[in-house]
């Protein structure tokens, strides 16, 4: 079906400089195998996986090393062949030490143990395969995909949206995959539509990825129920609430599931993985990661095994141009700053960035007062008053923050980004949310 240009967009948002050109035009390279991989047991939403191997065990890439023992969880498969060298706590991207399985790579034997390909999959077979392959949402939240594919019976899914917005600056991994794996993307989208019995499919792409829009429009020219939708380039267009609002015109209820709107969103990378798991039997042991930033010698996208330490990935991109800077896992708007190169790539890692420290150097040690300029109010895509939320958090009146609908905040950082007083608004909001949860727990 023909390309549609969306005139609609959401209210608010921000326009950071995108800097995608650093890596957008180079093809995805295959990252060499690291000496060891670190497989964190909790790299998805839900219960951590439970290790089923122990130190000294020999494992084959694609073999299960940690099993999902509760419903909302995801299993972890060995991403390389080798020997389990430790089951211990390792540094995670969030800076905490978390339980992990460490595998010493056997670089000689590295065939991947795959599942049997399925030619004509039935919906249950697709769901099972997604679960056994350990697929989770790759867009950031890492929700187990098999659970997501089985929404509440009350939610009838009309539209499956392949989310190719990739609105975070620097990141181009979704973009490159749309260009290089368009067929798998379309297949994955159709598989999801089949499982959900959805009538319509939409590939939603921000306008700044014109080549991907063109390619997918061509490939979908003869499909009458799948279209490409070009959306305005604006942060955070790729957030679930924004994309549903723009594509379907409905609002995701606060605290509810996006499927309540009849829309189902899945990141393009996840859909590609679904297709590969079903058609080729490929387990979720690798993903595409953007390695970029002004301080990286040759920014590029890499197909990298899950668990690869970011130090290895940065070396693969030619190393660094400077001896100091900011290392970020994720995108620059919501990603996590690192204090070492030791954390591994997890299933949700879309990017590893090394940039100059342009922001923190300027931040004063004091918390600046809010000058009430209203920029955060205009930028908040959810219609909140971030200034008020940050002030209530700062002075410790958390109930007031609740009255100001703090639970609707999607933690997109648009407010902090536009704040001329450099107030860490999102951090203050997260702090207040935590306090509110804690006190709710205390009260039963």
């Amino acid at each position: 079906m023909a390309l549609k240009l969306s005139k609609k967009t959401f209210k608010g948002g921000a326009h950071p400089s995108y800097k995608k050109e650093l890596s957008a035009t180079k093809p995805i390279a295959v990252c060499s195998l690291p000496d060891e991989v670190i497989l964190l047991l909790s790299q998805h939403i839900g219960a951590p996986a439970v290790a089923v191997v122990k130190k000294g065990d020999k494992v084959v890439a694609g073999q299960v090393v940690a099993e999902a023992e509760s419903k909302v969880s995801s299993r972890i498969l060995a991403s390389v062949s080798g020997e389990v060298s430790a089951v211990e706590k390792r540094l995670s991207p969030s800076g905490q030490k978390c339980p992990a399985i460490v595998i010493k790579t056997d670089k000689e034997n590295n065939d991947i143990k795959k599942f049997d390909p399925i030619k004509e999959p039935k919906p249950e077979e697709i769901i099972n395969r997604v679960r056994e392959a350990g697929i989770v949402g790759l867009g950031g939240a890492a929700f187990p995909t098999d659970i997501k594919l089985q929404p509440s019976k009350e939610h009838k899914i009309e539209t499956v949206i392949a989310n190719g917005c990739e609105c975070e600056p620097y990141l181009t991994s979704d973009h490159r995959q749309m260009l290089e794996e368009a067929d798998a993307l379309i297949d994955g989208l159709k598989l999801a539509m089949k499982v959900l019995n959805a009538a319509e499919g939409v590939v939603a792409i921000e306008e700044n990825k014109a080549d991907a829009i063109e390619l997918l429009s061509q490939k979908l020219a003869n499909e009458n129920n799948i279209s490409v939708l070009a959306l305005k380039t604006k942060y955070p267009q790729g957030a679930a609430d924004m994309i549903i609002k723009t594509v379907i015109g409905k609002e995701v209820p606060v605290g509810g599931r996006s499927t309540a709107t009849g829309g189902f969103i899945q990141n393009v990378g996840t859909l590609i993985n679904i297709s590969k798991a079903v058609r080729d039997g490929m387990p979720m042991i690798e993903r595409v990661v953007t390695v970029s930033g002004e301080l990286v010698r040759s920014p590029q996208n890499f197909r990298v095994r899950i668990g690869t330490p970011i130090s290895h990935l940065i070396k693969e991109a030619g190393g660094l141009k400077a001896n100091s800077g900011k290392v970020i896992i994720g995108g620059p708007m919501t990603g996590l700053a690192q204090f070492s190169f030791n954390a591994p790539v997890i299933k949700a890692t879309g990017g590893v960035l090394v940039i100059e420290d342009s922001v923190n150097g300027k931040k004063s040690q004091n918390l600046n007062p809010c000058i009430r300029c209203s920029r955060c109010v205009e930028a908040c895509p959810m219609g909140l008053v971030p200034s008020a939320l940050s002030i209530y958090s700062q002075v410790g009146i958390f109930e007031k923050a609740g009255e100001y609908d703090i639970d609707a905040c999607i933690e997109c950082s648009s407010c902090s980004y536009v704040c001329p007083a450099n107030r860490p608004i999102v951090q203050m909001i997260k702090f207040a949310k935590q306090k509110i949860w804690d006190s709710e727990k205390d009260n039963g």
Partner: protein, 316 residues
């Protein structure tokens, strides 16, 4: 990579384009055309008033920091800006100590009583002006004695003439002087054109929200037109332009919400017109802004944007 120095800090991690002192810089820059124009047209008296007022406010700021031992914020320009704004609301013929005192109390009240930048309810420059007006009414209205060629004892402002002496009121002549060289008023009223140049800078740089001046001036124009008066005269007279673009838009004392700013602007316009038509205060702008400053928190509370998805919020 071995000796890499990591800087850590919360997201977002990329360079931003805005910061507080840059905003202050642009506001001061936007006031330069009128400031320079006023000094050029009105001469040394205007220069003295401006210099004294800024000296008073910056001096108060320095004193406050010496006493409170909080870090200096003179560099952020807010005190200088307050002093300049106050000067622009004063007539050029006042004694030199009056703006000095005014600048000093503007900052003292904002800082000592309300706790510093960001917490004052009332626009500090206008509070200071109100205090000066109540304490030294003769000084404060002196300006209007000389340039307007009528009986000196009436101390008539153009708005006063329009209201009380309609026979000698010539709207067209006043409009022309308001636009280019109006000596019958405060320093900041010397030329509406120069003020509008500054306003254009603020709007273009997105420093101020168009909603407040648009709805303020629009409401004044509409109500005066509806009352059968000359709207152009009423828009250009009595410090409305400087008030609407440079004072009513003060971040700290106006509502933060977009809808709130519309309500605020309309309210300002209505109060200004009421004061001009029905009270003895023919300069309604200052009191209208101070009055609406007081209502701003309330307006803000009831004009919050609609929160996406709140309607369907899952019941817990």
């Amino acid at each position: 990579m071995d000796n890499f120095k990591f800087t850590v800090g919360p997201a977002p991690h990329i360079e931003k384009t805005e910061d507080t002192s840059k905003i202050m810089f642009w506001v001061i820059a936007a006031l330069l055309p009128i400031t320079i124009g006023a000094i050029y047209i009105m001469g040394t008296p205007a220069l003295i008033v401006i210099a004294m007022s800024i000296a008073g406010s910056v001096g108060a700021e320095a004193l406050w920091h010496a006493v409170s031992k909080k870090p200096m914020t003179i560099a952020d320009g807010s005190a200088a800006l307050t002093g300049l704004l106050l000067a622009l609301t004063l007539p050029p013929q006042v004694s030199w100590w009056l703006p000095l005192f005014g600048g000093f109390i503007a900052i003292t009240i904002a800082k000592f009583i309300f706790g510093g930048l960001g917490y004052n309810i009332f626009n500090p420059a206008l509070v200071a002006r109100a205090i000066l007006l109540l304490s030294w009414p003769a000084q404060m209205t002196k300006a209007w004695l000389e340039p307007v060629n009528i009986d000196a004892k009436t101390m008539a402002t153009p708005l006063y003439i329009a209201k009380k002496i309609p026979a000698s009121f010539d709207a067209q002549a006043f409009i022309k002087s308001f636009l280019f060289t109006n000596k019958a008023g405060s320093i900041g009223e010397v030329s509406a054109v120069l003020l509008l140049v500054g306003a254009a800078i603020l709007l273009f740089k997105k420093i101020i929200d168009w909603r407040i001046p648009f709805f303020y001036i629009g409401t004044v124009a509409f109500l005066t037109f509806a009352a059968g008066k000359n709207p152009t005269f009423y828009v250009l007279a009595g410090g409305l332009i400087i008030g609407a673009f440079f004072m009513a838009t003060d971040y700290v004392t106006s509502p933060i919400t977009p809808r709130g700013r519309i309500i605020y602007g309309v309210g300002l316009g209505a109060v200004t017109v009421l004061l001009r038509f029905y009270s003895n205060l023919s300069e309604g702008v200052m009191f209208a802004i101070l009055f609406m400053n007081m209502l701003a928190p309330l307006i803000e509370k009831y004009s919050r944007p609609r929160v996406l998805g709140m309607a369907g919020k899952a019941k817990s």
